[in-house]
């Protein structure tokens, strides 16, 4: 669907990010899971940074899980561009504020490590 000759980012664009993002992330988890079953690895429950750094099948699962959590950030980025194209400046600001809050959550989680 297009608005003039522009792609409809607020409908089709967001839907595409949601659909493709989910498929790619689930595929990464699936491939990693099959590989971990084949290798018989037991990675335990490391923090994500160590999980990704360790490489192999557990890291692939970690990438898939992280990918799932990053889909909303992609949605917000596409929404901001879509609102910009439609001249809705206040909505652009809203999308960017929520995106900043989400990234702040990521940064806080990375920096603050309470007892797990």
């Amino acid at each position: 669907m297009t608005r003039g000759n522009r792609p409809d980012l607020l409908g089709g664009g967001i839907a595409a990010v949601l659909r493709i993002g989910t498929l790619v992330a689930i595929a990464a988890v699936g491939v990693g899971y099959v590989a971990i079953l084949a290798s018989g690895e037991e990675p335990g429950s490391p923090a994500l940074v160590e999980l990704l750094g360790g490489g192999g099948a557990p890291a692939l699962i970690g990438i898939g899980l992280l990918g799932l959590t990053m889909i909303p950030a992609g949605v917000l980025a596409v929404a901001a561009i879509g609102f910009w194209q439609q001249g809705e400046r206040r909505r652009v600001a809203t999308a960017l504020v929520v995106l900043a809050l989400l990234l702040a959550s990521l940064a806080t989680a990375l920096l603050v490590t309470p007892p797990g």
Binding site: L10, I14, A15, I61, G64, L68, T69, P72
Partner: protein, 269 residues
């Protein structure tokens, strides 16, 4: 391997049940993992949040494209849920497991009460049925309505985020009534918009669990895969099934699980 198979089947059941009832599935995944597999509550909550994202994004893609989800409203309220979810997830790392179990038991009891009340009050109208199905294939485009009481709604969305980050659910049990009753959006828009927000909310909460090592990839992978498959099956079945008997079954199951969680909280085991 049998444990893996059971985890996948549990995820399938939670995903299908969740999709049929318009839930993220977290309300089922957390008790299944803690009571059924002996997983610590914080690990179950972290795994559940990731599963909730997977179920939300699949349905949200359909709702956004069909114009049923109000993206503008969802993003605005998302500011409240994101901050609330982060707060809840960080706080959960410091709370004793017994307190978390007691809070989850309360949430389950509230959910059962809400769904039982909805079942008793439900009118047998086609429009009412469609309003409960965010994935209905030919729902109307979003009708015009004027958002009201936004400051109150933002406060409520912070609370919804808090519940999500603390207990590993999507928060729809709070956001749907919030959007419908406080903002004044029609029910089907409230359900679809809440579903759109759930991914955002759960992601904000999930980071804390992922980065402090509360998500075991060996455990999370089969559950996520099962939930994603189950949600797709549930969404496909939802247009063909009458869900009233499922809601009745769900209420009984949730009440049973609420009692089990309360006992766990009381005994500390």
């Amino acid at each position: 391997m049998p444990t893996d198979l059971l985890l996948i089947l549990s995820g399938l059941a939670a995903g299908a049940f969740g999709a049929l009832l318009g839930l993220g599935g977290g309300i089922l995944i957390v008790p299944i993992l803690t009571l059924g597999f002996g997983v610590p509550l914080t690990a179950a909550v972290g795994t559940s949040l990731i599963c909730v994202i997977a179920t939300s994004t699949g349905a949200a893609a359909i709702n956004v494209r069909a114009g049923r989800a109000d993206v503008r409203l969802g993003m605005t309220l998302g500011a409240g849920t994101v901050v609330g979810a982060l707060t809840g997830a960080v706080v959960a790392g410091f709370l004793p497991e017994r307190l978390l179990a007691a809070l989850f038991a309360l949430l389950l009891a509230y959910t059962a009460f809400t769904m039982a009340r909805g079942l008793l009050r439900r009118r047998p109208q086609a429009d009412d049925d469609a309003s409960l199905d965010p994935a209905a294939p030919d729902g109307p485009r979003a009708p015009a309505y004027r958002s009201r009481r936004m400051p109150l709604a933002l406060g409520g969305s912070f609370l919804a985020g808090n519940v999500s980050g603390l207990l590993g659910v999507g928060g729809g049990i709070v956001t749907v009534p919030l959007i419908h009753l406080v903002i004044g959006a029609p029910m089907r828009i409230a359900v679809a918009t809440s579903n759109f927000m759930i991914g955002l909310t759960a992601a904000a909460g999930a980071y804390a669990y992922l980065f402090r090592g509360d998500v075991d990839p060996r455990l999370a992978a089969p559950v996520v895969l099962g939930v994603a498959g189950g949600a797709a099956i549930g969404a496909a079945l939802s247009a063909r099934l009458r869900t009233s008997w499922l809601v009745g079954l769900f209420v009984v199951v949730v009440l049973y699980v609420a009692v089990q969680m309360a006992l766990r909280a009381a005994s500390g085991s």
